[in-house]
Symmetry: C2
Subunit: 281 residues, 2 copies
């Protein structure tokens, strides 16, 4: 592999973040990571060309949709070109050679801390400290060099930065999956696509949503997700996000064309292969 | 009015919070407020009888659903017995007699601070300080007694606690409405109900959601809201929340009975009068 063939990919967080792991699952090793501080910065990096693609989380199986990223998908002109579902497995990571009983302080992203409540309940003397990123908290822990400090992050973060995994599977609930989207400026190849994500608005009349879904049901086209978000300036009206299964050259595409004619506004956010898992964890 | 005829109502936040204002809109003056520190505590207070009813926000027209309260509606056995939509109008409240140019520090709930970004952009020297409650930050400001301190809260909070409104309508977006639900242990009278909220799950088969909505569309029964939330332990499966318009003794009730037969699980969260506004702001 040479650097010239690598794809530059923006993610929120440092190397070893769950977004990085998701990017590796979709793209394999052929990527050059471009860490960003925020989701907005990821969208910016792809939009202005600083990165060729970007990866953001869109939904967690325990906590639900990451609604702010749904809003960004609608507001920004990027295309979804891939996705993956990642099993979120948190590791307690410390300096090499330390024991669990030495740990007094554990840093991580607030969501990761919230997903590991049982660990903190079982270790009441351990202080939970919020950080902007899971993998970033590993880097800071190593930089601080204190035996009493640890971080919650992926095994990948420990491997990449040289921390030691003291405990694996610290999360409360093993059914913890996050779905990530891969985004690019251009749309992906339609041939391999098995899923299409759209956002649309409807005229505010009775049965409008039912009629919209009818175009799919009549053709036996299945939907894997529906999400509603408020429309700014139009209180109690909504934009609907749908994930439609099937290749857009088939019945799914016909249904989308029919919906496009009936909807007030409709935008295809991208057609892409469903849940491609190159390297299951 | 005597105290004996008052209804005890739990809300998150202190007297003068937007939840308090919502409770006054639905119930009029005949309430005895029971302030709580959290939404969980509001549900607890109604469940264990410490309060007869409780008011919680469920949706904001700018930021969307308050998903944690949807989850609580599903998990707790309470009934929705009323609702109101409140125009959220933030006031800058200081000690009586101070000028805006004296203010150096403004406290409020983080959501209120986020809804007033323009004020802070226009007053870069003013520090925004997060507090657990809008009205509570007025109480703390008055207690501190410093001319440089102010809070963002409702006019009602200023009136009740003796602060002075220095600026009204500080929020960035005038289209800022929040919908609140009134909850009780017992269900409300069906006769006056014009809306029914339900939560249901479906078997994971193609077209299931379409078939569920079809029972309403076929009878011309309108839906005012659909929301999906993840099911714990069943990744990528969802509970759906619907608001169904019409009296449950009519076509809406027939549709609900049919859906009940077809759904995997269905629970009526409550039938109640829609958007009753006793005292519009």
């Amino acid at each position: 592999m040479n650097a010239g063939s690598r794809l530059s990919v923006a993610v929120q967080g440092e190397a070893g973040s769950f977004s990085h792991q998701a990017a590796l699952e979709i793209l394999g090793e052929r990527l050059a990571l471009i860490p960003q501080r925020s989701f907005d910065a990821v969208f910016d990096a792809v939009t202005d060309g600083a990165a060729e693609q970007g990866v953001v989380p869109i939904e967690n199986s325990l906590t639900g949709s990451i609604h702010e990223n749904y809003d960004r998908l609608s507001e920004r002109g990027l295309n979804i070109v891939g996705e993956t579902q990642l099993r979120v497995r948190h590791c307690l990571i410390g300096l090499p050679g330390v024991g669990i009983d030495e740990i007094q302080r554990v840093a991580s992203h607030p969501v990761a801390l919230a997903q590991c409540r049982r660990f903190f309940a079982q270790h009441p003397a351990v202080e939970a400290v919020a950080a902007y990123d899971t993998a970033g908290s590993v880097i800071e822990m190593l930089r601080a060099g204190k035996r009493s400090h640890a971080a919650l992050a992926s095994r990948l973060a420990a491997t990449l930065h040289g921390g030691e995994v003291l405990l694996e599977g610290v999360e409360d609930d093993p059914q913890n999956f996050t779905r990530f989207l891969l985004m690019a400026r251009e749309s992906g190849p339609v041939e391999r696509a098995t899923k299409t994500s759209i956002v649309f608005t409807l005229d505010n009349v009775p049965g409008a949503l039912f009629k919209a879904l009818e175009v799919f049901a009549r053709r036996g086209v299945d939907l894997s997700k529906i999400e509603s978000r408020p429309l700014r300036g139009r209180p109690w009206e909504y934009a609907f996000y749908l994930d439609v299964l099937g290749n857009p050259h088939g019945a799914a595409g016909e249904a989308l064309s029919e919906l496009q004619r009936g909807a007030a506004e409709l935008r295809v956010l991208g057609s892409y292969p469903e849940g491609l898992k190159k390297r299951p964890t």
